[in-house]
């Protein structure tokens, strides 16, 4: 059934693709629809308008796609290969390894902390022989294009503060999201789309939800807020006109509106009135431009095959990866994806396999797709969660079933493109996968590095609010020079 459906879609796709070629529809044509200043704030004619002097130096990356794995995937079943844990299966976590680590309320009262080796085998991939588990063969296959960091660490051990920390540089909330900072710093690259868009998907694994504060503009102007896009019928909130109202009628209505607004503009001379008229015009143009970008039916077979059949099913991670590429290639500075369901306190082997199935192929496809379009050099792709998972089992350890609690001290993420050195594995953890041995990367360092790739000195991107200059990196952060090419 599913296969049939796919072939049917592929057939449609092929025809549509060919016809679209002759029409020249694509990003180039879209460019002509672009109207200056949509989403770039209330005025100004280019991105640098936001902060004089930005970028601070020549950027490597122009855009970011952040594939956030919400719930925290286990590093021990993905990119941090620890054969010792299998050898010591069921033995107690040595106190010397745990040290003074505070545990969450979920395992703090556990009587024993039995070490749990990965249920899944690992293989080496790429020229560098990077170890990747069998759950992620597609990501393994692009090992030469990505940089795996095994030693990222955080300060938070619970989802909400940890996610908030990763996205805003602070655990408390009410600070601007990374995407908002980037929008504020660099503005919109292509002016008919917001600089910062958000896409959500859900796996079947244990989920923890996401919160709109993660893409909040905080104290920055709300023009920098992440705009939620969905692959549903209404890709942007309130985008679609009601049934029974065609484009011509909408145009007519807007013309009347402009005529009437002009009367009060002449009476009041309030510039807000003119701005309002412009915003309606931009909304009108968005109504055409956005569905065009969101329409994946014109994607050719090989692209659909690359991302996998799910990419044609709206709302899936694969569909969002494909949309992310389209948004990004059309100039969206920051595309933030969240895939939920990675919180494997129990049933890890089964649940994680399901989650990996959702994301493995499409994540790799996105990198490959950007590369074949020559866009990977200027697009930074990031893959990872908010913390890691414990090397011991939460609850009962069985040979084929166990769970892992939250672990902040080390976990793995990977990055690709945007001037990050490809084909390397950075940092080393101990044999227990519990502590960092070499090259730790703090969340603030991670943020500093990302901003650096965009040509921004993280200490200079500041905003004064309530008497204090705020930064994404708070008062810390060092650029990880070792992974920059």
């Amino acid at each position: 059934m599913e296969k049939e459906f796919l072939e049917h879609r592929l057939g449609i796709n092929r025809r549509k693709f060919l016809s679209s070629l002759s029409l020249g529809i694509g990003s180039v044509a879209l460019g002509s629809l672009l109207i200056p200043d949509l989403f770039s704030g209330l005025g100004g004619d280019n991105a640098a308008d936001f902060i004089p002097g930005l970028p601070n130096f020549a950027p490597k990356a122009k855009r970011i796609i952040y594939l956030f794995q919400d719930g925290a995937p286990s590093q021990l079943e993905s990119f941090d290969y620890k054969p010792k844990l299998r050898e010591m299966m069921g033995q107690e976590l040595p106190a010397s390894v745990r040290g003074n680590q505070i545990l969450t309320g979920m395992t703090a009262n556990q009587k024993s902390y039995p070490l749990a080796g990965s249920f899944y085998d690992f293989k080496q991939y790429g020229k560098n022989g990077a170890w990747v588990s069998d759950l992620f063969p597609h990501i393994g296959s692009i090992a030469d294009d990505i940089c795996i960091i095994k030693t990222i660490y955080t300060e938070a051990i619970n989802h909400d503060p940890a996610l908030t920390f990763f996205q805003t540089g602070a655990q408390q909330g009410n600070r601007p999201s990374m995407g908002s900072w980037v929008s504020y710093g660099l503005g919109s690259e292509n002016k008919n789309l917001p600089a910062f868009t958000v896409l959500l998907s859900k796996g079947k694994g244990n989920g923890q939800g996401v919160y709109s504060k993660l893409w909040s503009n905080g104290f920055l102007d709300s023009i920098h807020q992440g705009v939620l896009f969905s692959s549903s019928e209404n890709p942007v909130l309130y985008l679609n006109d009601p049934d029974g109202l065609d484009r011509q009628e909408r145009r007519k209505m807007l013309d009347k509106l402009a005529e009437l607004n002009d009367i009060s503009a002449k009476e009041f001379h309030d510039p807000e009135i003119t701005t309002k008229v412009q915003q309606y015009e931009m909304a009108y143009r968005m109504q055409t431009a956005v569905p065009d970008i969101m329409d994946v039916s014109k994607e050719p077979d090989d692209i659909v095959k690359l991302y996998g059949p799910d990419c044609l099913v709206p709302g899936t991670y694969a569909a969002n990866c494909l949309l992310a590429r389209k948004l990004s290639e059309n100039g969206v500075r920051f595309v933030q994806l969240y895939h939920q369901g990675w919180d494997q306190h129990t049933n890890l082997p089964k649940e994680m396999a399901g989650q990996a199935m959702d994301v493995d192929q499409a994540s790799a496809a996105l990198v490959t797709d950007l590369k074949q379009r020559g866009l990977l050099d200027e697009t930074l792709v990031i893959w990872g969660g908010e913390f890691g998972r414990t090397n011991y089992s939460q609850g009962k350890l069985l040979k084929d079933n166990y769970g892992r609690d939250h672990h902040p001290r080390c976990f793995s993420i990977w990055m690709a493109g945007g001037g990050i050195t490809p084909g390397i594995v950075y940092g080393e953890t101990d044999d227990f996968g519990y502590n960092i041995v070499r090259n730790p990367v703090h969340v603030h360092d991670f943020h500093a590095t990302i901003l650096n790739q965009l040509g921004i000195d993280h200490t200079k991107l500041t905003f004064k609010s309530l008497g204090r200059r705020y930064r994404l990196t708070d008062v810390a952060g060092n650029v990880v020079r070792d992974i920059i090419s």
Partner: protein, 773 residues
Amino acid sequence: MRLKVFIAVLFVAGVLIGVNACHSSSEKSVASEDIPDTISYNFNIRPILSDKCFKCHGPDANKRQANLRLDIPESAYAALKDDPKTHALVPGDLGASELYRRVTSTDSEEMMPTPKSGLKRLTPYEVALVKKWIRQGAKYEKHWAFVPPKSPAIPAVEDKAWPKNTIDYFVLHKQEQKGFTPNPEADKERLLKRLSFDLNGLPPDIATMDKFLADKRPDAYERMVDELMARPQYGEKMALHWLDIARFADSHGYQDDNYRTQWPWRDWVIHAYNENLPYKDFITWQLAGDLIPNHTEEQLLATGFNRNHKITEEGGVIDEEYRVSYVTDRTNTFGKALLGISLECAHCHDHKFDPFSQKEYYQVFSFFNSVKEAGLQSTVGGPETYAKRPMMQISNADVKNILKFVNKQDTGRLIVSVMGDSEVYRKTYILKRGNYDTHGDEVFPGTPKAILPFNPNYPKNRLGLAEWLFDDKNPLTARAYVNQIWEEFFGRGIVKTLGDFGMQGDLPSNPELLDWLAVDFKTHGWNIKRLVKEIVMSATYRQSAVVAPDKYKNDPDNVLLARGPRKRLPAEFIRDMVLASSGLLNKTIGGPSVNPYQPPGLWESTTSGRGQLASYRQVHGPNLYRRGMYTLIKRTSPPVEMAIFDASNRDQCEVMRLRTNTPLQALEMMNDPTMLESARVLSAKLLQEKNQPKDKIYEAFRRIICRKPSGQEMTILNSYYADQLKSMNEKNAEKLLNVGEYPIPAGMDKITLAAMMKVIDTIYNLEEAITKT
């Protein structure tokens, strides 16, 4: 854009300089970089030092470089520790003042601020100010906000006919100094619209408009003011701002984000404003109602204020970490909302700009630290988790007798989180770097000395803290509140940074007016209705909002108030306007929050799947048409209809909303079912009247825009209607009408209905419809 902002900045600087400059240079160009005759430390120098020097040479002892602090004269005048022959400042002696040499130096080793600091260098204008200040003796002044307000002399004005009350003298005096004249009074229709939204958050209905237009008595305006202030909607209007301050919401806010029942507290706020509870009681009850001897149920309910913050239900958290975060939230809210200062910075270290030490932060913190609460009381669950302990239960008998204002709609158990201290005082320690588990020295209840030391005769609890707040010598309490209220009416505070009167905040644009208002408010028993009436009765408030081009050029932000406020309505009132003008509005006050229409999937795509609010359950019937302030706020996915128009997400205390103008707002106005349904319902209503189409359009315009349309406007709308009648077909009409749940009266012609609906929808989309004019 850049240029505009630049000019605006210069202008504000210019105005501020004018404050102490005493030179009557009328018609001075806004961009004038004139150096005032007398340099004021507070208004000219401190902003420079605070912005560019205090980071390393300010109050924060840990970050201080070279042992030099420039925020106090004793240190700035003293010999430098590293170089005893040199002094940062030598009053009157520019050449001997090392500070001047360093800020003008071009040597990267010597220049200040250092290139490494990331701070910008002083502009030539700033250097000139510093130079003159040193020559004039480098005199320091205490920060203006920490000096208790004294009622200033009422200034003399040239145009003696214009002022209607004391406010106007202060405003006009500033205008005359700058060569401005006020706008004439707004016409009656526009004035009524402004007044109605400012006092009720609703448009005036046609009967009220007709009555006011017909009332030719000299005190017609005042009568209308009194009438609107006596309506129960006054309490709703005033409450909205307080709900932002109090970060009121209907969910716990973290992760699973389950439902909570804090709404009886919200009903109390509305009630308190309607009863005109003096601000002193309003705050004392909220801070310490539970500690008042023989307190009433109402006073206890008021303390829900300090339990509106987010509370976790995430299973794995460390209890103490979250308990500390709640106490922190209360401390920060106390500073920002009630004092107008950000204490927050001192949570982790000595304040870098304001004279508050970390120790003082935790002294204030200690007042809120003995609550009988847990960091994690219960994980997401059923009705027993809707309020966390300490809590009160509101019975049906309570609602019949003492808590009549609580709109309890069923006989179910109703619980509200309130304050309540444990019998044992919880010791408070300085938390190093703000970490919950890194205790420093023990501290005891106290308040920042720079503001006002805590009187040892006060009880060392929240009740004592309330007494301190309303101590006659407290310099901030009255100023902070009158400034917030001023912003509500004029769209801009006298101090623009409502939550920061500290060193980094903006200076007051009219300090004498601010102080007069503050003292007047205090000496008249903290009477809120009186304050509000004072503001709306002023000639300043009643001015036309026409922005004359030269005035715009010279004062784009209307700092001088030489024109009336013209501001986009807050999110909630946009909804209210649409519902009220169509006749759909359900005027019920209070009760549980409701879920009106919302685009599908928003809650479902973000939820963990647990709890009462995992999926959106839309209401039906009259509850679809409640005022915007009653829309349920789930913190992790707040109502988008409101968020698009800058409503607070109620995550933390918010003293001031942004006011943006975006394409998403246009999309919402065009396509939100609430807007379309209202247009449809009003269309049906008007078509049932026996009159001409032009009469119907005329009435729709009045209901929505709150004034009679001009002939030109009528011509455009009439022709649009004629066009729509012609171009509309049955099929499209049917589709267009298929929006919202409110029934369509039987037997109506669909094409006529849809054509009129589109005309009305167009009126709803006018800029003026959602603008206080």
